[in-house]
Point group: C2
Chain length 120, copies 2
């Protein structure tokens, strides 16, 4: 568990690189290796696009909304934006790279930062 925490922190501290149309999505081996460092996240496909998703559970709506705001702020800081579904006691965060229509290393970095925002 401690290894996981250290690993997530090191991933969260990495820089997002600029993506252009034509930048290749992460290769399956890279996805598998990055996913191993984010045990609470899973890759799900929606409308044919792979997304990195995690559901966070809270005790009420106010806590869920407060987390949504925190994730929104870190998204704005990075210039990379997720889909955030806010409900009573529950927030689902989905990261993917719109311009490449799939997953990039950046999405895993943002997922690690989302985990860090939960801990803060």
């Amino acid at each position: 568990m401690e290894n996981n925490i250290a690993d997530t922190a090191s991933l969260a501290g990495q820089h997002c690189t600029a993506c252009r149309k034509g930048t290749p999505p992460a290769a399956p081996e890279e996805i598998a290796s990055l996913l191993a460092r984010l045990p609470d996240w899973q890759v799900v496909e929606e409308d044919g696009i792979a997304r990195l998703e995690r559901v966070f559970v809270f005790s009420n709506f106010a806590q869920a909304l407060s987390f949504t705001i925190r994730v929104g702020k870190l998204a704005e800081q990075a210039g990379h934006h997720p889909a955030i579904l806010t409900e009573w006691g529950r927030v689902r965060v989905s990261w993917w790279t719109h311009i490449i229509g799939g997953l990039h290393r950046n999405d895993f970095i943002m997922a690690a930062r989302t985990d860090r925002a939960l801990a803060e």
Copy 2:
């Protein structure tokens, strides 16, 4: 159009009534009549549960997040909570009454208040 605005305002000003398990969902005729007063909303079914949904479009992520926060605040004030999907330039708000597993007049009142929050 003016009629619609006045009508939405009058719906938004109504009080939500307490719902209990066993409170019947809105009848189809009531749903049709309330929906006529909310031209930008539609009833969609998800997991067998009818929801009242509208997608709001914005120019960027910050505006979308700001609207999410406003809708969250009015939900907290009413003690009735929607699902809010926040994305870059887009917020989808879904209202339904969890305890009755469907739509109640309250959901239409909250939808009207959501429209009002957009105008504010």
